[in-house]
Symmetry: C2
Subunit: 211 residues, 2 copies
């Protein structure tokens, strides 16, 4: 079909398993790009600029904010994190599909700026399962667990801002559903007006063949 790639925003409450689903999808589709965030925090041992993150200083980051250079950004414990708009656009224009794996607050910022993206909300099959997954991470106090669970629960309300809901009962099935969603989106009429114009443009030649 050629043309511009798709921006696929994969999001959902903490504990839904969006990271695992993304990794499974990317394993099957190495041609798809996982977006790289920009951050002002220091690289950790083994982290590489342009692979794990784009590591930049605060001045550069804030300059980019001024220019509207982020699809979304946030400050967490004094460090900025953001999705550079230029990096994403450049890859989309080259025809690559780009995946953003991102929390709900970030996804809603992206939606305001890039409505033609595909917004997928990953949920666990039941709240019970979400609880198990949050607990499974271990090491937190019961109060902390409850706080995190409540936070995930309250984030569910943003589901209506998304296009698709993918229930993560199995990572493989969830990844397959994302594959189907992308295939279907590429078939949407409004994403194919170029093909339509080309098809219609074929008429003069074809009619002459009959004459």
């Amino acid at each position: 079909m050629g043309g511009k790639g798709l921006l696929i925003v994969i999001s959902g409450p903490s504990g839904a398993g969006k990271g695992t689903v993304c990794q499974e999808f990317l394993k099957r589709h190495p041609e798809t790009l996982l977006s790289i965030s920009m951050t002002t925090r220091q690289p950790r041992k083994g982290e590489i600029d342009g692979v794990n993150y784009f590591f930049r200083d605060i001045k550069t980051f804030e300059g980019l904010i001024e220019e509207g250079g982020f699809l979304e950004y946030a400050k967490v414990y004094g460090n900025y994190y953001g999705t550079p708009r230029g990096f994403v656009n450049q890859n989309l224009l080259s025809g690559k599909d780009v995946i953003l794996e991102i929390d709900i607050q970030g996804a809603l910022q992206v939606k305001d700026k890039f409505d033609e993206g595909i917004f997928i909300f990953i949920v666990p099959p039941t709240m019970d399962e979400l609880r198990r997954r949050i607990e499974g991470r271990g090491s937190e106090t019961p109060e902390e667990l409850l706080r995190r669970f409540k936070s995930s629960y309250s984030e569910l309300q943003f589901i209506t801002r998304y296009d698709y809901l993918v229930i993560n009962d199995s990572v493989e099935d969830a990844a397959t559903k994302i594959e189907s969603i992308i295939t279907a989106e590429k078939c949407r009429v409004d994403r194919n007006m170029d093909f339509y114009a080309k098809l219609k443009g074929g008429i003069d030649n074809d009619l002459s063949i009959f004459r």
Copy 2:
């Protein structure tokens, strides 16, 4: 996911190959129902009521028109043909997906009455290929071929009333795309509000577990 089935309207210009694509899809998905039309024409040898068509007399058919009992209908060479709304609804309510393979005029009537359907437009990869397919049916005069080709061409304009465009370059690929479209549509947030309510409903129990 349970719940109501989907109405999948597969349509496109004459010569696009929608019939072949539908047959391929139904071969893979015998659980999906191909809608049965009602007609006032006489059964041909071997045709069975309730399998090939619902054969009814004109009075019954016109009575149903009066009651709004058709998703679409047309009179062709003195015989009525139509898609009975009751038959389709009954199957959708039982959870079955229903396919309507139908010409463009019919599809547009369905769209006015059943907007929650999925409207798929099948096109040949090029107008040249459409010409070959129309010619391949043989037995028509050049004038008739040209008339049919022009008619198919002018029908392309209705593409914008559809949700999806599927390019029929190979029957297998086209059927796979329809599979993806159906999977994706079943993931649409607005089709999953029941699941969302159920998921949210699980909260009281789950919170009590933490207490």
